[in-house]
Structures are given as structure tokens and as C-alpha cells.
């Protein structure tokens, strides 16, 4: 089995875990994880903006590490665990990041949102209280054209507070502006 998978030009079998579920499929070597998620698995929550690693839109996490699915071959993910936006909610309950992004309008068109939330989730996993500058650094590979990032920072901060178990609320100035 392993030997067969070490060489592929036609379709090769691939087993990976996507959002906690094992999936088995057969893919050609040139198929990227992005294409597999969107086209083979119907997980269209993962978006794409350039397919060249220049925008961050297609971010997913691979074994907990945020990566660009447009530059990741499916076959290189054999046996690994992939997390997409579809895996973020806990049952019918939104993930704290999803709640915060929704409440603060951090998703305007919503197209960069899945990738940014996954990058933010990985940040918070390693650093439960990120500073504004750490958030900027962690999200510097994800372009957004709608928000100017401000609401995104605020949402990440709010969600991080929630995830620390704090009863945080959005700042008044975030919602209404300065008085």
C-alpha cells in the first residue's frame, strides 16, 4: 500500500481526515488540497482568490498548522488531518470566532473570512491572549479588501477573550464609533 502511494502519475488512493471524518478517495498528483476540498468533497467554504499563494483566501489547517490549500498537493496530505471552516462550529453552535466575526461585522463579503478565521484559530491555540500586533502578524498573509482588518482584529480579540472564559463584550467604539 505505502509503496504504491510513493509513485503516482494517474490517480492514487488518498486517505485523510477532514473535520474529524475520515475520507478516502482517489486523486491525480496535480490535484491540490483546495481542489479536493471544493470539487471532490463539496466543501466550498474554502475559497480561492489567486491559486498562487498570493492572497491567503484558501487557508485551512493541516494537523493544526494553517497552510495554503492551493499550494498543497492532496497526495502530500496522506494520513493528515485537515480542518476547514465547515468544521469550526460545534454542532449547531457557532465557534467563538464565528460568533465574534458575525457580531462585529468582521465578515463583510465573507469571502476571505473562512481562511482568516482558521489562521486566527491557530494563533489563539498557541497564544490565548494575542496582542493586537501579534494578531496583525498572524493575519499578515490573509488579504481582505472589505474591512480594513479593523473589525477582524476586534473579533479575534473578542473571541480570544471568550475562549479564555471571560465574559467579554465588544467595545462601544467598535459598534458606534468614537463619541
Amino acid at each position: 500500500m505505502a509503496r504504491r502511494r510513493s509513485e503516482a502519475s494517474g490517480k492514487a488512493p488518498l486517505t485523510l481526515e477532514v473535520n474529524g471524518e475520515t475520507v478516502e478517495l482517489a486523486v491525480t498528483p496535480q490535484k491540490t488540497l483546495l481542489e479536493i476540498l471544493r470539487e471532490d468533497l463539496g466543501l466550498t467554504g474554502t475559497k480561492h482568490g489567486c491559486e498562487l499563494g498570493e492572497c491567503g483566501t484558501c487557508t485551512v489547517t493541516l494537523d493544526g498548522v494553517p497552510i495554503l490549500s492551493c499550494l498543497m498537493l492532496g497526495l502530500a496530505c496522506e494520513g493528515k488531518s485537515v480542518r476547514t471552516v465547515e468544521g469550526m462550529a460545534h454542532g449547531a453552535e457557532l465557534h467563538p470566532l464565528q460568533r465574534a466575526f458575525a457580531d462585529l461585522g468582521a465578515a463583510q463579503c465573507g469571502y476571505c473570512t473562512p481562511g482568516i478565521m482558521l489562521a486566527a484559530e491557530a494563533l489563539i491555540a498557541g497564544n490565548p491572549s494575542p496582542t493586537r500586533d501579534q494578531i496583525k502578524d498572524a493575519l499578515s498573509g490573509n488579504l481582505c479588501r472589505c474591512t480594513g482588518y479593523i473589525k477582524i482584529y476586534e473579533a479575534v480579540e473578542l473571541a480570544a477573550a471568550w475562549m479564555r472564559g471571560e465574559e467579554a463584550r465588544p467595545r462601544e467604539e467598535s459598534l458606534y464609533g468614537e463619541r
Partner: protein, 347 residues
């Protein structure tokens, strides 16, 4: 959606396997490390390997370890191996840029390496991209890093499918630019690169790993693989790297300045100044280094060195920003790098 062309994908697990597979594939084969350089190039059809040999599963390439006796000695003396970093580090080529930037020993002993790694592209790309990949980064050019259709519209260029270098149409050679951030640092540090080949291993200084030719930009043989980077003993010297680009993320350097100085007390005993992104190789500027050797990095020496680096710096029309400004910035950035080292001058 931009897609990859078909290819045969090989995933060896040992170095020996990898070398054999690459050798079997001949000129149609390429290694892939993180894929952040090769796959975009393949999607734009300006690199077209038929066989891709992935190094992700090759054992032993993704490591940061102490170099032989030096490292052991450090540990023996301190008796606290985790708290006391080993002296000389050996960096596996498949170490990701994120790992390199975050590694405590790298940060403690070779902060310039961690800093340069941290300045590459974006956190997402650094999670995928590797040290080896960055050192072997394909040279870049605004006429080359374009889609097939774009390049076809200008009848291609000599680096791929054409015969003219549009950067310098009368030139016999390609002027694509070395855009690696780690390469100038490794040249400045005089790091030793370990190449594995069918005939065994050889070690080359980083300064001899590059050619000033946009097409044949590496001196590495086709079937050789960069496996590790041996850093010098970290004592007695200081170094820094300054990067110029439009944005703080994503962008390749339009100028990189790596400066290494060996101190003799408060005087510079030896120095290397290397410019990135102004030529097809990391360009060492010996005259700029000479201007500070023997000095205590006085302001006058710094100015003289910056001017000496400015003169031979010849940015071409192959990347972001205008040429004259980029050239002008050579002076500024060399100056800034030297002033930073001056701040840390031993007393």
C-alpha cells in the same frame, strides 16, 4: 481556477531513494520541498517538471541539531543541554521557515537567521516553505513570473521558451534576480552547504553556491540535493539583515542587505556585506566590507562603506520599484545595517 499540469509524483522516504528517483527522472525531474515556489511556477507553466520528487517524507532532512563535537562540548560543560544552546547548529534543508524563525537555539545563537526567515513572505507560506527551498529559490523577474498567456504575448523570454532577456534585450544572459532572503545571510555568514549526490556528499561555502546567471543560478549539479546548512561557530561575530519591499508581508525583497562583522575588541577584524535582490546571485561587495575593516564602525567608515556598496549595486527592471530609487536605497540600507551593528559594538 489555475491548476497544475499533470506530473508523476514521487514520495521517497530515504535520501538514497530520493537521489535515485531524481537521477532516474533526468532533466525532467525536480525536487519539491515546501512547494511554495515550484507549484506557482508550474501553474504558470514556467517550470514544467514531468516528475516531481517530494522531499517531505525523507527522513532526517527536517531538523535543527548541534554540530558534532562543538555541540557536545557545549552540552558537556553546561550539563543542561536544553537550557544551554549548542554552539554550532546544523539546519536540515526541510526545516520550515516557521520552525527556523521560532527555534530557541537559532534565535539565541543566530538571530540574524531567525530574523531573515521571519521576513519571508507570510506566516502561511513560512509554515510550508523551507530553508532549502528558499536557498534554491528560482530567480524571479517581472517578465518571467507571469502566466503562459502573458509570456506568450511578449514572445516569452530566454529563461523559459524564448530567446531574449526583456530586462536587457541586448544581453546574452538572463537577468532574473535572486530573491531569497536567507541566501545573502548565508553568504555573509559563510555558512557551509551540504550537497548530497549520487557520488556522495560534498560541502560548499554558501558564497560558491550561486552563479550570476538568471538561468543557471545555482552551481549545484542537476542530481545533487541540498540537505543541510552548517552554520559557523556563533562566537566573536555579529550580523544583521535588512529587507526592503513595498509591504511588510508577501513581498519578495527588492533589496536585501546582509552584513557580517567579526569583532576584535571594538574594532572590525573582518566583514562581509552581501546584497540580495540586485543580481542573479547574492552579491558580495568586498569593497564595502574593506571600508569598515580595521575601523570601530565610525560614522565616517559607515558612510564610506555604504557608498562603496551603492556604486556596484545595479538593480534591473525585474522587480517592484524604480531602479534609481532601489540603487539609492542600497546606500541607506547598508548604512542602517551597519549602524545597527555599531549599536551592539563590544565595548
Amino acid at each position: 481556477m489555475l491548476r497544475l499540469p499533470p506530473f508523476t509524483y514521487l514520495q521517497p522516504t530515504t535520501l538514497k531513494q530520493a537521489l535515485r528517483m531524481k537521477s532516474d527522472a533526468g532533466p525532467d525531474g525536480m525536487y519539491v520541498a515546501g512547494g511554495t515556489d515550484l507549484y506557482p511556477n508550474m501553474k504558470r507553466r514556467h517550470q514544467e517538471p514531468k516528475v516531481v520528487v517530494a522531499l517531505g517524507r525523507v527522513r532526517g532532512l527536517r531538523s535543527i541539531r548541534a554540530d558534532g563535537p562543538t555541540g557536545r562540548r557545549a552540552r558537556d560543560r553546561s550539563n543542561r543541554p536544553t537550557a544551554q544552546p549548542p554552539n554550532r547548529l546544523v539546519l536540515g534543508a526541510m526545516t520550515t521557515l516557521t520552525e527556523l524563525a521560532a527555534h530557541p537555539h537559532v534565535n539565541a545563537r543566530y538571530p540574524v537567521v531567525a530574523r531573515a526567515a521571519e521576513l519571508i513572505s507570510t506566516p502561511l507560506l513560512r509554515n510550508m516553505g523551507t530553508l532549502g527551498g528558499n536557498l534554491c529559490l528560482d530567480t524571479r523577474c517581472n517578465y518571467y513570473n507571469q502566466s503562459y498567456e502573458w509570456r506568450k504575448a511578449i514572445h516569452f523570454c530566454m529563461k523559459k521558451d524564448g530567446d531574449v532577456c526583456w530586462v536587457a534585450p541586448s544581453s546574452p544572459r538572463c537577468w532574473a534576480v535572486n530573491s531569497s532572503d536567507l541566501a545573502p545571510v548565508m553568504v555573509a555568514l559563510d555558512a557551509q552547504l551540504v550537497l548530497a549526490g549520487p557520488k556522495g556528499e560534498r560541502v560548499v561555502p554558501a558564497g560558491r553556491f550561486y552563479n550570476n546567471d538568471g538561468i543557471n543560478y545555482l552551481t549545484k549539479q542537476l542530481d545533487e540535493m541540498l540537505t543541510e546548512v552548517r552554520l559557523p561557530d556563533p562566537d566573536g561575530w555579529d550580523a544583521t539583515y535588512h529587507k526592503l519591499r513595498r509591504r511588510g508581508a508577501f513581498d519578495f525583497p527588492v533589496l536585501g542587505v546582509a552584513v557580517w562583522v567579526r569583532w576584535d575588541g571594538a574594532r572590525v577584524a573582518d566583514a562581509r556585506i552581501v546584497l540580495g535582490a540586485v543580481a542573479s546571485l547574492p552579491q558580495e561587495v568586498p569593497e564595502a566590507a574593506r571600508a569598515i575593516v580595521g575601523t570601530d564602525l565610525s560614522i565616517e567608515a559607515v558612510e564610506a562603506s555604504a557608498l562603496a556598496a551603492f556604486k556596484p549595486s545595479k538593480p534591473m527592471d525585474n522587480t517592484d520599484f524604480g531602479l534609481s530609487w532601489r540603487k539609492e536605497m542600497t546606500r541607506q540600507f547598508v548604512k542602517r545595517a551597519l549602524l545597527e551593528l555599531r549599536e551592539r559594538r563590544p565595548s
